[in-house]
């Protein structure tokens, strides 16, 4: 019932305690077991990783692969150009994420609304999500990047950067809308009943009671989508946007050395790995919080 942990309440008394001889014995035994575990983990890691490394290094093609994929002097030579490209990816990700957030929220609200007046929009939103979740992003980029300019509509942009971003936004909004919708549906009906019984209208209930809880609950999957979004911005290179992927492509086609690709991959990893670690931490925290709530 009461969630206040005993450790918090009794911190004064907890620090005054001296372990019994039996507890000291147990602690010594536990330390010995832990040391043994660490030793086993280290040995098995060295064995497995060492075997993998030696398999690669002793393979017949390793010398050639080493020269064409891991030529570090060439890698550092093209690092500047690829980093510049990566800034395009990051910018595109930030702008797209904001637009996706807005558009996806509209889609999710439409799909979960029960208002009679919104019926056609609800239908359209469902159709939209079905279509854009089902078509590969690369195809959407190609269709929009090459298709829209071909219409020659007055005033419509020809910028491949804008068209590419638009394609990414259209596709990702469908994914993110579904994540938001699942969050909205996961809020227990009793919360809605409580809000309605207080006289809140259904839109006030959504805004003040359901959405704040729903969004908080889907932060981890949304961060996952953000990582995926950053990687997928690399696909707009197909339209000729000079992002990190395109920059690497240009650099490697000049010398037929593939090190620039590896360099670009490492640059992406430098951003995505910390972001995924952070996502895992947020997820672990939210699971802990939900379990604590279940116990209360």
């Amino acid at each position: 019932m009461n969630n206040v942990s005993p450790a918090r309440d009794n911190s004064g008394r907890a620090s005054l305690w001296t372990p019994s001889p039996r507890e000291v014995e147990r602690q010594v035994a536990r330390n010995a077991i832990n040391r043994k575990k660490i030793l086993i983990a280290t040995t098995s890691s060295i064995l497995v990783l060492g075997a993998l490394a030696s398999l690669i290094v002793t393979s017949p093609g390793w010398q050639v692969v080493k020269e064409t994929f891991f030529d570090w002097s060439y890698g550092s030579e093209v690092l500047g150009a690829i980093s510049k490209g990566l800034i395009v990816n990051i910018r595109l990700t930030i702008i797209a994420a904001i637009l996706i957030g807005i558009f996806a929220m509209v889609l999710a609200l439409l799909r979960t609304s029960r208002s009679a007046a919104l019926t056609p929009f609800r239908f359209l939103a469902t159709a939209y999500v079905d279509i854009f979740r089902g078509v590969p992003l690369l195809l959407v980029i190609l269709l929009i990047g090459f298709g829209l300019p071909a219409l020659r509509i007055e005033g419509l942009t020809n910028s491949v950067l804008i068209l590419g971003t638009a394609a990414v936004v259209l596709t990702y909004s469908a994914y993110v809308a579904e994540v938001l919708r699942s969050g909205i549906l996961s809020i227990h009906p009793s919360q809605r009943a409580a809000a309605r019984s207080l006289g809140l209208t259904s839109s006030q209930t959504m805004r003040h009671v359901v959405l704040p809880q729903a969004v908080k609950r889907v932060v981890p999957p949304l961060l996952n989508d953000l990582v995926a979004l950053l990687k997928d911005t690399g696909l707009v290179s197909i339209l000729g946007v000079t992002d990190a992927v395109r920059a690497a492509q240009i650099a490697s086609s000049r010398t037929f050395n593939y090190t620039p690709y590896v360099t670009a991959a490492i640059l992406f990893l430098l951003i995505t790995i910390p972001l995924t670690r952070y996502t895992d931490r947020v997820l672990a925290k939210s699971i802990k919080r939900q379990n604590a709530q279940g116990a209360a």
Binding site: M1, N2, N3, V4, S190, Q191, A193, A194, A195, R196, S197, L198, G199, L200, T201, Q204, H208, V209, P212, Q213, K216, A292, Q293, A296
Partner: protein, 247 residues
């Protein structure tokens, strides 16, 4: 004047008849207590009165106005009804104070400062002032339910609906919740409550209704229905409650 009148109410869930031709009258400033086994229709009746569940036949009048009319503005009706649930249903993302002031500010358009002052006054009155800025998950079950009651009366409802508000509480926390209800009753708040606490029912009830299979089998003052039940079904039920040690 009757606050609430329920006439020939009928409610089905698919093939299951939950409320069967049920009628009930609640005069102003009185408490009507619903007793009966789980599944007898107590909670459904309360949810129907609050328009959270639709009804299949009959009519419901609040202060003489029919609220079971299909064209009625449900949000407006609920503004004059308070409801407290078995599982508290506080909003976990809001502090205690925000839980209480949400409806006064958003629905009743009371200025923020005034709503907060009124909420603080209620919290002080029920010894919860120090919890105002806490979040619900830091409170005990009894404290949460007291906050839920305060939340429901902060909008000064005409009628309070209490749905087994102590059923999910630790026995030692039950009394702190019931004493608030006793206070409100003394003040003259009209209420309909479903409960398994027979001692409490005897203290607050002006009328006790024993429900079975969606029908009121026996009704009358507590001194009759609980202390000297006439109907054999009521006797059976109270005997079982007694054996469970709850009387």
């Amino acid at each position: 004047m009757n606050v609430l009148e329920v006439k020939n109410l009928r409610k089905c869930f698919d093939d299951n008849l939950v409320l069967d031709d049920l009628s009930l009258t609640v005069p102003d400033h009185t408490a009507t207590v619903l007793i009966g086994a789980s599944g007898s229709g107590k909670s459904t009746l309360l949810r129907c009165i609050n328009l959270l569940d639709s009804i299949d036949d009959g009519s419901i009048y609040l202060d003489g106005r029919e609220i079971s009319d299909p064209g009625i503005d449900v949000d407006e009706v609920r503004r004059s009804l308070g409801m407290v649930f078995q599982s508290f249903n506080l909003f976990p993302h809001m502090s205690v104070l925000d839980n209480i002031t949400l409806s006064p500010i958003r629905v009743h358009r009371i200025p923020k400062a005034q709503a907060r002052d009124e909420a603080m006054a209620l919290l002080r009155r029920f010894d919860l002032a120090d919890k105002a800025d806490q979040f619900p998950d830091r409170l005990s079950g009894g404290q949460q339910q007291r906050v839920a009651i305060i939340r429901s009366i902060a909008v000064k409802p005409r009628l309070l609906l209490l749905d087994e508000i102590t059923s999910s509480l630790d026995p030692v926390l039950v009394n702190e919740v019931l004493s608030i209800v006793r206070d409100l009753k003394t003040e003259g708040m009209a209420m309909v409550l479903a409960t398994h606490e027979m001692g409490f029912a005897t203290q607050v009830a002006d009328e006790v209704c024993f429900l079975k299979n969606g029908k009121i089998i026996e009704r009358g003052p507590a001194s009759q229905v609980i202390s000297a039940p006439q109907h054999s079904d009521t006797q059976d039920f109270l005997q079982r409650v007694h054996e469970a040690g709850r009387l």
